[in-house]
């Protein structure tokens, strides 16, 4: 079985995010970028499936400018077999991403597609679901356990009330939650080998997808700085302030 993993290049979670002076977007110029943590979990799960014999090949795909090859190489160093970059300078929205991935799935015919449940930059949490709908394939989102069982997969999901286990018929789509696994550290020889693993570059045009944006980014602003607290003299004063100043009571 082939496993396809979609990965995204995002701002490193250690970096303090800066907003551009004109509030048009987050400032990403010369900022340290990294593999989206949920995508890293997706890669880890795919590699574990391969190591356990359940999967035969792990293909990793990313959409973005040439720089996103760094994240593909990171995934290759973690154990993926080959990479596909869909080159675009634009920042496609979730639906466009899902459409591009759907085309890759049609070409590659993987038994399982694993995606992070969301990226830590946009926090949309919708690409996996859209991909499932476009392909008309079963989806198991927020997975905390993935077990291949013959021609189906059992996905344990983290839901509000606890855990829910679904049986999905393969081919299927899975999105990862934080507790699915703990990604490994890349090994030095594997980082070296990753350089030589195959990486194909395609364009949206090659895939016959016209990138259209249905949403427009109007404004990004930094969260308001927290004001210093004050000490109140009595419970009455506190209630008064909550009622009349904060207006939350």
């Amino acid at each position: 079985m082939k496993v396809l993993v979609a990965v995204k290049r995002v701002i490193d979670y250690n970096v303090k995010v800066r907003v551009k002076p004109d509030n048009s977007d987050v400032d990403l110029a010369n900022v340290k970028m990294a593999l989206n943590p949920f995508c890293e979990i997706a890669v880890e799960e795919a590699v574990r499936l391969k190591e356990s014999g359940a999967a035969s090949e792990v293909v990793v795909v990313s959409i973005g400018p040439k720089a996103c090859q760094e994240q593909i190489r990171t995934a290759l160093a973690l154990g993926a077999d080959r990479g596909i970059q869909i080159e675009t300078e634009e920042l496609p929205e979730s639906l466009s991403v899902a459409k591009l991935l759907a085309k890759v799935v049609e070409a590659e015919q993987p038994g399982l597609v694993i995606l992070g449940k969301q990226s830590i930059d946009a926090d949309n949490n919708q690409t996996g679901q859209m991909l499932g709908a476009l392909l008309n394939r079963p989806q198991g989102t927020f997975a905390s356990e993935v077990k291949i069982d013959g021609d189906s997969v059992n996905v344990t999901r983290e839901v509000d009330g606890g855990l829910q286990t679904l049986n999905l018929k393969l081919p299927a789509i899975v999105t990862t939650d934080l507790r699915l696994n703990e990604p490994r550290y890349a090994k030095l020889p594997d980082i070296m080998k990753a350089k030589r693993k195959p990486l194909d570059v395609k364009t949206p045009a090659d895939l016959g997808v016209d990138l259209k944006n249905h949403t427009r980014l109007l404004k990004v602003s930094a969260p308001a700085e927290r004001q210093a607290g004050i000490r109140v003299a009595s419970v009455d004063e506190l209630i008064d302030k909550l009622k009349n100043e904060a207006k939350v009571l």
């Binding site: 250690n14 010369n30 340290k32 990294a34 550290y185 090994k187 020889p189 070296m192 350089k195």
Partner: protein, 592 residues
């Protein structure tokens, strides 16, 4: 306890802008290796360092090691961390591909080692010593020794140690007494070695000791010392660890710092004699050790950079959090707003960056000297490597004392208390000016072998190169003051060099008396030189609209601070040097 984050931006700036990493790789036959790969390697090493090794640092300090019936027990958690480190292939970074190594440049290995040393110096000593042992066997051992031991040492499956010192033979290795008696295809080793770092532990299946000892017919002194491989467990027919050899750790030292690094007293041959195998030819042991000295000494210099960085990060976090100032409106502010706290932090930051620059530039000379195709090139790089090594070791480790001292000072009373973690860095740093040749030994090496022996030629070449940076700075409007300051420091260097050449012949005590001031002068001068270059490169990048402007602008200010606060120390050193040995040598021993 303090977190550690690898300062990847500064490491990458030095590799790119000062070392010229891609050019170095291309010119020296490191095919397929480029900055992009180096960056990926540093990123992954940084994760392992900060997430796995760094949290164990304070645990190692608190718990230390224990000597039991079974030998030395390392700090709990170290074995698992070591396995992760070895399985990740990190011990194989520099070794030849022939022995399953990755064959990466020494300068990249140095940049990666900074991570391990910052994250957990006591831990990182173990792979550092193994690397030294690997080099000794790789350069001087027979093919059989190499095939038998190297692959498993390179993979990190086995660790290595260096056994030089004895109770009566420290700096003066001529006094070594450990004996080696020929016995068929091997030798029987008897004697005691002290200060053996990671001499015993339970992290791996075997430990390979490299031991200096004397053959029965060996000439007296340094020319009668041979080098032997002595495995903790003798290998069976399949090459796996079998019977225990007659060597054991009989005591571990209680130390000021690096508590988690076992410093062992090793006893060889308590029973019939420890079985050892000769490395290379008899009586050449000390010469073999000398071939590894540049790397070993630069390795300790790098530890100085690493501990300074760790101490700086801890102090900086504290300074941003500790509220000890009150604004007019009654709200409080963090101590980083106080000018004197900022002075301390800037001193830490600028010194650490200058030290890192020198450590990497020195490490790159190992690659250039080792791989140069042209003979003249090779000679030039070898001379520069040998000149820089005592400065890297001596100046950086001395300055690391001041940096870790300031780290504790920024913490105030909390720095004197162990819980903040600042005190550990201060204590851990203290060994650095002592082992692998004390500061005094480095300084003697610089004035003697590296200066007087070649009539100051190597220094003259360095000074000429520094002058180029002075000229470049002076031409640039924004750097006129820095250029002038570097010129003064350069003149101090020139004067000190001439003074030494002239006075060493007249006064036998002169060279030794001024040596440490001489070394510190050249350390600050090299720091100023590389910070000046950094400023020029940062400005070029800023003008071109490349790179992270926040980082680059901070680099400009950091270089300016170095020039204003640290570079002037060259002048004080010169003044003292010119006073010679008179007041040092005048007292009789009874008058002390």
């Amino acid at each position: 306890m303090s977190d550690y984050k690898h300062p990847h931006q500064d490491a990458e700036f030095v590799l790119n802008e000062l070392v010229g990493f891609d050019d170095l790789c291309a010119a020296n036959g490191f095919d397929d290796i480029n900055f992009e790969l180096a960056s990926a390697i540093l990123t992954e090493a940084g994760k392992l360092g900060s997430e796995v090794l760094a949290p164990l640092n304070v645990i190692g300090d608190n718990q230390g090691v224990k000597l039991t019936e079974q030998g030395v027990e390392e700090t709990a958690g170290f074995k698992e961390a070591y396995q992760q480190f070895a399985e990740g292939g990190w011990s194989s970074l520099i070794a030849d591909e022939e022995y399953e190594g990755q064959g990466l440049p020494n300068v990249l290995c140095t940049a990666v080692n900074e991570i391990w040393q910052s994250a957990n110096m006591a831990f990182a000593l173990c792979p550092l010593l193994t690397q030294g042992a690997v080099e000794a066997i790789a350069h001087h051992g027979s093919e059989e020794l190499k095939q038998t031991y190297l692959p498993k040492m390179v993979s990190g499956e086995w660790t290595g140690t260096m056994n030089l010192t004895e109770p009566d033979a420290g700096t003066d290795l001529a006094a070594i007494k450990t004996r080696a008696i020929p016995n068929g295809d091997h030798y029987l080793i008897t004697g005691q070695k002290i200060f053996i770092t990671w001499g015993d532990h339970q992290m791996t299946d075997n430990t390979i000791h490299l031991v200096l000892a004397r053959l029965p017919d060996a000439p007296a002194g340094v020319k009668g010392i041979s080098l032997f491989v002595v495995p903790k467990f003798l290998l069976d027919a399949e090459g796996n660890p079998g019977v225990r050899n007659d060597v054991k750790c009989v005591s571990v030292e209680h130390k000021l710092g690096i508590h988690a690094s076992p410093t062992c007293v090793m006893s060889y041959g308590d029973k019939e004699g420890a079985i050892g195998y000769l490395v290379g030819e008899a009586n050449k042991g000390l010469a073999y050790m000398f071939t590894m000295m540049n790397c070993a000494r630069q390795g300790v210099g790098l530890q100085g950079v690493a501990i300074a960085e760790r101490s700086y990060q801890q102090a900086l976090d504290y300074a941003k959090e500790r509220l000890q100032g009150t604004n007019k409106d009654g709200s409080r502010f963090a101590i980083i707003k106080f000018p004197d706290v900022r002075r301390m932090l800037m001193q830490m930051k600028s010194a650490t960056e200058a030290m890192r620059a020198l450590a990497f530039v020195g490490a790159a000379e190992v690659d250039r000297a080792g791989r140069a195709q042209d003979e003249a090139d090779q000679r030039r790089h070898q001379a520069r490597l040998e000149l820089l090594t005592p400065i890297v070791k001596g100046w950086i480790t001395e300055l690391s004392q001041e940096i870790t001292y300031l780290g504790t000072q920024v913490n105030g009373g909390m720095g004197f208390i162990e819980e903040t973690g600042s005190a550990q860095h201060y204590r851990d740093a203290r060994i650095l000016t002592i082992y692998e040749g004390t500061t005094g030994i480095q300084a003697l090496d610089l004035v003697g072998r590296k200066t007087l022996l070649n009539k100051g030629e190597a220094l003259a070449e360095l000074l000429a190169e520094i002058e180029e940076t002075v000229v470049a700075l002076s031409k640039h409007e924004g750097f006129a003051e820095q250029g002038a300051a570097l010129r003064e420091a350069l003149e101090a260097g020139n004067t000190a060099r001439s003074w030494l050449l002239e006075n060493a012949a007249k006064d036998p005590a002169a060279a030794g008396a001024v040596s440490v001031h001489f070394m510190m002068l050249f350390g600050y001068l090299c720091g100023g030189w590389l910070m000046g270059q950094s400023a020029l490169r940062a400005q070029t990048l800023l003008d071109a609209g490349e790179g992270d402007p926040e980082y680059l602008k901070a680099k400009l200010v950091t270089a300016q601070f170095f020039s204003e606060h640290l570079l002037p120390r060259t002048k004080a050193s010169l003044e003292t040097i010119q006073k010679g040995s008179a007041s040092i040598m005048a007292l009789s021993e009874d008058q002390f």
